[in-house]
């Protein structure tokens, strides 16, 4: 096999995965789960930097957010599924899974399909066509997190594998 594979990455994955993407997703996962461990009232939660951070990327609606001892997490049930599973799936796929380029269209297609499901369910909830349970929201988030991790792993796979 020829090519300029980075020797620092024994699995053939780009170092960006280990040094940037994985720490970033881990950071978001930890922050999303952290408010109940640092705050004891809704006011503290409302003023917390964790809530502020996620307020740009999640609606944080209280009736759609899991709570621990009465304190909401920093992200809604769907987002908590995404952020929780993303670093785990990245680690699993990067250790046990190297993707051939020919698999790319299927993974991109899978990502597009799961994204569509999440968008349709989110929009239907928003426009009150139906109301999903928190478990359904969590599961759609988990599936989307897995699909995103797969997409990132193929993106960060050296092309000569």
């Amino acid at each position: 096999m020829t090519g300029n594979r980075d020797l620092s990455s024994g699995s053939g994955l780009h170092p960006l995965l280990y040094y940037v993407v994985l720490p970033a997703t881990l950071f978001f996962a930890v922050v999303a789960w952290s408010p109940p461990f640092f705050h004891s009232s809704l006011l503290e939660w409302h003023e917390s930097w964790q809530r502020l951070l996620f307020s740009r990327i999640c609606h944080q609606q209280l009736d759609r957010t899991f709570t621990v001892q009465g304190i909401p997490l920093a992200a809604c049930s769907r987002c908590i599924g995404i952020y929780s599973v993303l670093p785990v799936a990245l680690v699993v796929f990067s250790f046990f899974f190297t993707v051939q380029n020919k698999a790319k269209p299927y993974i991109v297609g899978m990502f597009a399909t799961v994204s569509l499901i999440v968008i349709v369910d989110g929009a239907a909830n928003l426009f009150q066509l139906w109301q999903s349970t928190d478990l359904i929201r969590l599961l759609t988030g988990v599936f989307w997190g897995v699909a995103t991790a797969l997409l990132l792993v193929i993106a960060l796979t050296h092309r000569d594998i």
Binding site: L16, F28, L62, R159
Partner: protein, 189 residues
Amino acid sequence: MEPDQKKSYWSASVKAGVVFGFVVFLVSTIGSYITIHSEPTGNLLSGTILASLVGCLIAIFGGVLAVKFYINDYGAEMKIGQGAVIGLMTGIVMAVVSQILALIWPVIDGAFIENLQAALIANIELSQQIPDAQKEDMIDGIYAQFQNFYSVGNILQGFLMGVVTYGLLNVLSGLLAAKFMGRTPQPEL
């Protein structure tokens, strides 16, 4: 041999960052006006929150547009890491632009902050999701949040949160764009 053209990420990042920073601000401001002009229902999923969510979904594509601009300028040969850096820089520019515009707008519409504050508080007062005992605390929190709108701490915090969220999201979209739109540079022989 052709002279080596110095490749800069700035041009692509600034162009895409300014465009998307403006769009994010626009969506967020429209959402705020929707909240202001809606009857309070007690639903905490207000136009403001929804707009920031939609704005964020749009913002992810900033990194993609910046990579597209870079490819237009210098050709499709690029490494994934370059896409990530372009995405990060775009996210930072986007955070700066949207933050500056968000600070300027209340000067143009002098009643903006007061009206938004009143609308958010009215929604909290009618909310079934917050225990009565905690409503007063939440309302006090909102007052404090808007009173400190122009404080240095609040501005820096907003900027930092923007850099972290838009920066990291655009790192991901930038590297994905580089992977799917770019071409790996061939090693020189």
